[in-house]
């Protein structure tokens, strides 16, 4: 039995935050009330005075790198990193080696996760065999085996006819198609956003239209096919605008953006910092503002981390050879709190929607809020704590965080999953 005392409970933007004690018995929340009786003999008592308790988070876009790139991350290390950041359900992308493009690979991920992961790992299957963009993967079999979505993430399905068929076919299996929008002819050779910083540094630029052109294309295809299109890691203001129009049209489209796109700009690249090399690239202040506005209005539905671990040797190289991506699990909540709540006046309940309700809805999972009778999946956060992101405090195998050296406010202190305390007072317990 676990008793959380004096918790400020945040379930969503619609519920009133209440202050109460939470009693957890086995894997469920048994009781929520004022002054639940303490019984030190058979209870772990957690004093949450001054802290907030919220449903644990779900990430619909991350990279665990297993199989094939275990030196960057594996299912175990990635899950622990996710857990450290308050995530207890994560969806891993299929660009592994071999890629997750068939039933056996889905089964493999599920099996490995069951063996080594303390949290829930849900695989995303590929749209096309071998992520080649040419021939549809066996979407039905993958869904049957447990795939929750399909995506060729890391690459764009450049053939519009294949994308159209993927959308049509996915409908029979009620599975969302997660689109990595990037016109590879426009982005070819590009390292960073095409703009002020690319002109200053002489690094080759990627025009923003490389993203928004495909966003527009896929929206039109989704409009026609009436399939569920999910646009991931949105980075430009034009994309936000297009998604807004699509929603007004009634297109079945959802979208996410990542913590780094709502907080940082291309200027992070000045000084040739390869940790700031991500794909899509960091954009401008105007884009950051448009994305924040999009989140506010619900045009962008949720936040994903796009946790993309890379080994030091893949980042400490010439800029063009550096791998794209930043890790993201462990900083996600704190970045959202710092940049959305503190700097932009978001309600904390909105953050819970961005990290819990909405991502779950997109992949067809019901919310798991803090209510009596629900599974005890929750986090306890200190919203006042300030901390600096340093390599030493990163749990992930790779340390390539674009937030290294940044000062963030708020910290996920404790994580309880299915009634088990997996992180307590900042220390992992798994």
């Amino acid at each position: 039995m676990i008793l959380i005392k004096n918790a400020q409970i945040v379930n969503s933007i619609h519920d009133k935050n209440e202050k109460a004690d939470i009693l957890i018995v086995d894997d469920k929340i048994e009781k929520i009330g004022i002054n639940i009786e303490e019984n030190p003999d058979n209870m772990i008592i957690i004093d949450a005075s001054g802290k907030y308790v919220m449903p644990s988070f779900t990430d619909i876009h991350c990279h665990l790198r297993e199989p094939g790139f275990e030196y960057k991350e594996d299912i175990k290390s990635g899950s622990r990193a996710a857990l450290a950041g308050g995530f207890t359900t994560i969806c891993c992308m299929p660009n592994t080696n071999p890629p997750i493009d068939n039933r056996a690979m889905i089964a493999y991920i599920k099996y490995r996760a069951k063996e080594v992961s303390p949290i829930e790992v849900l695989p995303v299957g590929a749209i096309t065999k071998g992520l080649s963009g040419e021939e549809l993967a066996e979407i039905g079999f993958m869904k049957e085996e447990g795939a929750i979505a399909i995506s060729d993430d890391g690459k764009c399905v450049m053939n519009a006819n294949i994308m159209r068929n993927a959308l049509l076919y996915s409908k029979d299996f009620s599975i969302p198609v997660i689109s990595h929008c990037e016109d590879s002819n426009l982005s070819e050779g590009g390292q960073i956003n095409l703009g002020y910083v690319s002109t200053i540094t002489g690094l080759r630029g990627i025009p923003r239209e490389a993203e928004s052109i495909i966003v527009a294309r896929d929206i039109l295809l989704a409009k026609e096919t009436k399939a569920h299109l999910h646009i991931t890691h949105v980075s430009t203001k034009e994309s936000v605008r297009l998604i807004k129009i699509a929603k007004e049209w009634g297109v079945n489209v959802t979208a996410d953006t990542c913590p780094h796109y709502i907080s940082l700009t291309e200027e992070e690249v000045l000084g040739f910092n390869t940790n700031a090399k991500v794909n899509p690239p960091l954009r401008t202040q105007e884009d950051v503002e448009a994305l924040i506005e999009g989140l506010k209005e619900g045009v962008i539905d949720c936040i994903s981390t796009d946790h993309a671990p890379h080994h030091k040797d893949e980042k400490n190289v010439e800029f063009n050879l550096a791998a794209s991506g930043t890790i993201g699990f462990e900083t996600a909540f704190s970045v959202l709190f710092t940049y959305l709540v503190e700097k932009n006046g978001f309600d904390i309940g909105k953050i819970v929607e961005l990290l819990h309700h909405n991502p779950r809805k997109i992949i067809g999972l019901s919310p798991n809020v803090i209510k009596e009778g629900k599974k005890a999946n929750l986090v306890i956060v200190d919203l006042k704590k300030k901390w600096e992101v340093k390599e030493d405090n990163i749990v992930s195998k790779s340390k390539n965080s674009v937030f290294l050296g940044k000062l963030l406010t708020s910290y996920v202190e404790t994580v309880i999953y299915n009634g088990k305390i997996l992180k307590k007072d900042g220390v992992l317990n798994c």
Partner: protein, 305 residues
């Protein structure tokens, strides 16, 4: 001054220091012995990942005139083909007791990357589309020698601004001295936001008219395949310094080019031979400027403290 990575970070005072010293170095170049002991005992290595006989030779001569031990690493025959990373190469050069590394690379930021990972001095001899600081310094030196000043001038830079490290270094360097900078070239070769740093002319005539200096840039003919330019002939007609455009350029306007020149593409042979063309002089001045930079990079009392 530990490194010379670019002119964007370099202060006005530092630039003047280099130019003044280069003036002294030029007198050494004119002497019969052409030898000073300034770099005696220093090991200077040139590491060129791109071919450039002229820049490499200029650096090597500069180092030799100052009595340094020079080594040039030819990349084709060395590590790259054996799968050694640049970081490995840097560590090897460190173990070989390199004092100064002069590096050219096709990727922007490589000299910065090396400087972050080594203990020796790094001189940028051209990195990707980023900077070519010694070229800009020699251009500034040449301008100052000919016009007596590098301040408050009207300067046009013509051609491939997008890919040109020479253009960038010149813009960063010259902007520190109150100069009015105008750029012009095909729209495909004008980078975004350049208007924050230079006036973008709408025609070649406008770009060159009334200027004190016209810096013409080299065009990479491969750009045609990627859709940046259409043909040599068309480029010459609309963007080249040909006889037609000379009507807009006064006899006192300096005509500069970093070389090597594509004759009849960027500039005509006739224009190159005009008395106000400084193309050959720039080459000589390049050695003097590089001697100054090498000298400052090996002194403890440097520009970068």
């Amino acid at each position: 001054m530990k490194h010379l990575l670019g002119l964007r970070e370099l202060s006005k005072e530092d630039i003047i220091k280099i130019l003044n010293l280069a003036k002294d170095m030029k007198t050494i170049l004119k002497s019969e012995t052409k030898k000073t002991p300034h770099l005696q005992g220093y090991s200077v290595v040139t590491l060129f990942y791109e071919n450039s006989t002229r820049t490499r030779t200029s650096f090597e001569l500069a180092a030799k005139f100052m009595s340094a031990n020079t080594t040039s690493i030819s990349v084709q025959t060395s590590s790259v083909q054996k799968g050694e990373s640049l970081l490995d190469t840097v560590k090897t050069l460190e173990a070989l007791k390199t004092d100064v590394l002069i590096v050219r690379h096709s990727v922007s930021g490589v000299p910065h990357f090396i400087a972050k990972n080594c203990s020796f001095s790094v001189i940028n001899a051209g990195d990707g589309m980023n900077e070519h600081p010694t070229q800009a310094l020699l251009d500034m030196f040449t301008i100052r020698e000919r016009l007596g000043t590098i301040e408050r001038l009207k300067i046009a830079i013509i051609g491939d601004i997008l890919h040109s490290r020479v253009a960038r270094s010149n813009i960063w360097g010259l902007s520190k001295f109150d100069n009015q900078i105008t750029v012009f070239g095909p729209q495909t070769l004008i980078p975004p936001y350049i208007e924050n740093f230079a006036y973008v002319a709408s025609s070649l005539e406008e770009a060159v008219s009334g200027k004190d200096v016209v810096i013409d840039l080299r065009i990479q003919l491969e750009r045609q395949k990627r859709g940046f330019i259409t043909s040599k002939q068309e480029y010459y007609k609309f963007y080249g310094l040909n006889e037609d455009i000379m009507r807009y350029i006064s006899g006192s306007t300096l005509i500069m080019h970093p070389g090597p020149v594509n004759r009849g593409v960027e500039i005509s042979s006739e224009v190159m031979q005009l008395p106000n063309s400084t193309i050959d002089e720039q080459v000589t001045n390049g050695i003097a400027v590089r001697m100054a930079v090498l000298y400052l990079c090996t002194r403890k009392e440097g520009i970068y403290r």
